[in-house]
Structure formats: C-alpha cells, structure tokens
C-alpha cells in the first residue's frame, strides 16, 4: 500500500515538474530595449551647416552588461529633439544615419522649418522609417553581430539649412535611438 501511494505521489510530482519545466521557456529570452542618445551641436555662419557624431552601441552600459547573452540586436525607433536653438532661426533639419562602414542607412528631413518646435516641453519628432530603411539598419547589426565584432557604431549627421535668423546659427539637438536586444538566459 505504501509503495502504491509513493508511486502515485511521484507520478503527480513528475507531472507537475514536467508541466513546470515546459513553462520555463517563457523565461529563457528577454527582449531588452536599449535607448541611446547622441548630441549634435551645429553652429556656424554659413548655411548649410553640417555636423556629424559617431555613437557606438557597445559603449552603452546596459549593452555591455548583457553583451555575452545577446543573440540578436534590432532597431526599434529613432527621434530628434532640439536642446537649444539660436534666436529666430528658421530652417530645415535633415538627419542622416550611416553605418560603421560609411554606408547610408537613411536620410530624413524634419517637417516645418522651425527647429524650436522640437524643443522641450514640446514632443520630439519621431522619425518614420520605411521597412527598407529599417531592414538596412538591421542587416548591418546582424552583420556586425555574426562577425563577432564588438563595435556597433553609427554616424549621425545633422544638416541645418537656415532660411532666416541672425548669425552665428546654432542648433543643438539629440538623435535618440532605441534598439532591442534579444537576450538569452
């Protein structure tokens, strides 16, 4: 009788354990969102003003923390926000992003001709990228990842075409980018 009871108990325990084990997959992956910001200060007296900055995903503290467990990194979203702008400056901001090899990934011109429109407390401008542009970014990330390269770098360029305002022109702003890292535990 004791043996019978023990067998039944073990069966129930095993059933629960298997059930539980199967559910563990849910915890195996962790799609981590990694935000980054790069500040671009464009100033000068001649229009257009072109300024570039390089930023590397691998310099991010969170990226470094999970790097060994990451299986894939993909692009999620990017936005522009103005930090400071010279008085009465009107003009267009064109943003472009190149990969670490200098290949163009996208170019976007912000709507309107008022850089101050994207200054706090106003909302930043979220860049609307086409599926092809997103694919170009993700292909680059995949290539870097597959080669075991530790350097996930991009070059962001802001081109300010001033149409009015007094010189020297100044547009100080951030390109904010969010990546998603598929992290395996």
């Amino acid at each position: 009788m004791k043996k019978y009871i023990l067998h039944n108990l073990l069966f129930v325990f095993a059933a629960i354990a298997v059930f539980t084990y199967l559910s563990c997959d849910k915890f195996d992956t962790f799609p981590l969102n990694i935000p980054m910001s790069v500040e671009i200060i464009s100033q000068g007296s001649n229009s257009p003003i072109v300024e570039s900055e390089v930023f590397c995903l691998n310099n991010d503290q969170e990226f470094q923390e999970y790097r060994d467990k990451m299986k894939k990194v993909t692009f999620i979203e990017a936005a522009w926000r103005t930090k400071a702008v010279s008085a009465n400056l009107q003009g267009n901001i064109t943003l472009s992003l190149r990969d670490g090899n200098g290949n163009l990934l996208f170019t976007k011109t912000l709507p309107g001709a008022d850089p101050a429109a994207y200054k706090a407390p106003n909302q930043p401008y979220v860049l609307t990228l086409s599926a092809n542009e997103i694919q170009l970014i993700n292909t680059y990330l995949e290539q870097v990842f597959s080669q075991g390269n530790q350097s996930f770098c991009f070059q962001a360029t802001a081109t300010i075409t001033a149409t009015s305002g007094s010189t020297p022109y100044l547009v100080d702003g951030f390109v904010d980018v969010v990546f998603e890292a598929e992290t395996q535990f």
Partner: protein, 295 residues
C-alpha cells in the same frame, strides 16, 4: 520528500533564473508603473494560493487526516497582458500600451528628455502552479496547513511559504439538512527575502452532496491579496525618466485584482484516494485539480 517539494515550488515560481529575470524586469520600472506591471502576477498568486482549499463540504464528525497535492492552471485574460504606463516627467505621450509581466514586448516612449523604455513580460497567458497541503479534522472542524521551510534561492534571498485554513461544517447543526454546508477561512503568506512578501486571505461558504463515490461541490469566496515589493532600480543615465537614472531602493505595495470567485467542481472517492477537479471563476480563471489521501 522535502527536497522534491522544494524543487517543484522553486521551479514553479522562483528558481534562480526566474528570480534574476523578475528582478531585472522590476529594475527598469519606477513605483507607479511597477505596480501595474506586476499586478496580474499578484492576482495569479492570490488566485493560486486561495484555490484548492476544499473538495467537499463534509467534515468528519470525529477525526480525519488527509494529505493532498494541488495542481492548477491559471488562465490570464488578454486585457491583463498590457497596461498604459504613467511618467512623472511632462511631455511624454503614453499612447501605446506596454507589457505587464504576462505581456510580450516592452515599449519605448519618446519625450523631451529622450526615450523612456519599459521592460518586456514573459509572453504567456497561462501559468501552472502546485503545492502540497495537509489537513486534520476533529468534531466537524478542519485545520489545513501549507508549509515550506526557508530555502535559499539566491544570494541573500530565501523563500518560505506558510498557509493555514480553518473550516467548520455548519450543516451538522441543522437536522435533516439535505446537503453539506461549510464555511472556511484561509490565510497564506509567501516571502522571498529582499524582494517580495505576499499575503492573502479568503473566506468562503461551500456546499456539496455525495452520490455514492461522486461528490459535486459549489462555493462562493471573498478574497484579497497584497504584495509588498522591495527591489533596486538599476539606474540608467540615458533614461528620459529622472526616477530611473540612478540606482535606488524602491518599496511598493501592490493589491491583486482578487475579490470574489465562484467554484464549481466534483470529487471522486476511491477508498483512501480522492481525485477532484474544479473551475474557479474570478478575475483570472483557474482550472484546479487535486489528489488527496484521506484517512
């Protein structure tokens, strides 16, 4: 036996992998949002701990003893897989939902200070749970116990669980009453040091009627669950939310969405073995089953 029980419970909820990942998820949320993020999980723990407490309203008039294994599947409704976050900084539009602990991917919200991101969930709408319990009865009153001793599950963290239930048969006072009627009070506590303390209480009235070896039963239960959460925000200087930019300790108290439930089920008694299954209708539906050795 103790080891087996321990392993099951830990695997179920708080294995070191689970533990680290749950902590990682909490670490990316400030107080207000962590409450919404974790609320469905608190509800699940509440519905789980308050399930499987009865399979008949009959209580032995003299002495009885039983040992049970309870297993259940909690079904999480879709509307508990997302929530709309709030941020203390003005200028952030939360026009898209993000994942609760049961949801899929987190979100990114653009605003005047840069992006604020929210963590992903575990992408599931069902959660299995199980635990052992013992009961002893005397003169129409039954006392039920659930217990796990303190178990180390991570550095500086121990899990322990304690639950007690008291049930009294009411129908014994009513001559010729055609069905069994009982009332029951339950209290459960689950603690993970340095992370959570969960407390839940329940009060129910249930009825049953035995037909040979089969006993259908039905119950109505009022319950409440609360969890105190103690975690550390993993500061990220690039976050748009100043509350998330530096490491800091956070304490939050979260109430589960637990109030009323209806239980309907049946048990089958074969000598000393009782098998039962029931459906619990509450904010999260629970399908529960049990194997009991009754002496």
């Amino acid at each position: 036996m103790k080891k087996i029980l321990t392993v099951i419970f830990i695997l179920l909820l708080f294995s070191q992998t689970y533990f680290a990942q749950i902590e990682d998820r909490f670490a990316a949320l400030a107080e207000d949002n962590v409450k919404e993020y974790v609320k469905p999980f608190v509800t699940s723990l509440g519905v789980a701990m308050n399930s499987g407490a009865f399979y008949t309203a009959s209580v032995p008039k003299f002495f009885g003893f039983s040992f049970s294994i309870r297993a259940m599947l909690i079904l999480v409704p879709d509307d508990q897989t997302t929530f709309t976050p709030t941020f203390s900084v003005p200028g952030y539009s939360t026009n898209k939902p993000t994942a609760t602990i049961y949801g899929d991917k987190g979100s990114a919200y653009a605003g005047p200070n840069g992006y604020i991101t929210t963590p992903p969930g575990i992408n599931t709408t069902s959660l299995p749970m199980g635990y052992p319990q013992i009961s002893a009865s005397l003169l129409g009153t039954e006392v039920m116990l659930r217990y796990l001793p303190k178990i180390s599950i991570a550095e500086d963290s121990e899990l322990d669980m304690f639950g007690i239930g008291v049930k009294h048969n009411i129908s014994q006072y009513i001559p010729l009453f055609p069905i069994d009627l009982a009332v029951q009070f339950l209290y459960n506590r689950v603690t993970v040091t340095n992370l959570i303390e969960l407390k839940n209480t329940a009060f129910n009235a249930h009825v049953s009627k035995t037909f040979g070896i089969i006993t259908p039963y039905f119950g109505l239960q009022y319950e409440s669950t609360s969890m105190d959460l103690d975690y550390t925000i993993n500061g990220d200087a690039t976050s748009g939310d100043p509350e998330l930019q530096a490491d800091r300790e956070v304490k939050a108290s979260v109430d589960g969405d637990n109030a009323f439930r209806a239980v309907i089920g049946a048990s089958l008694k074969l000598a000393v073995i009782v098998l039962n299954a029931d459906v619990n209708l509450s904010s999260q539906t629970v399908i529960s089953g049990g194997l009991t050795f009754e002496f």
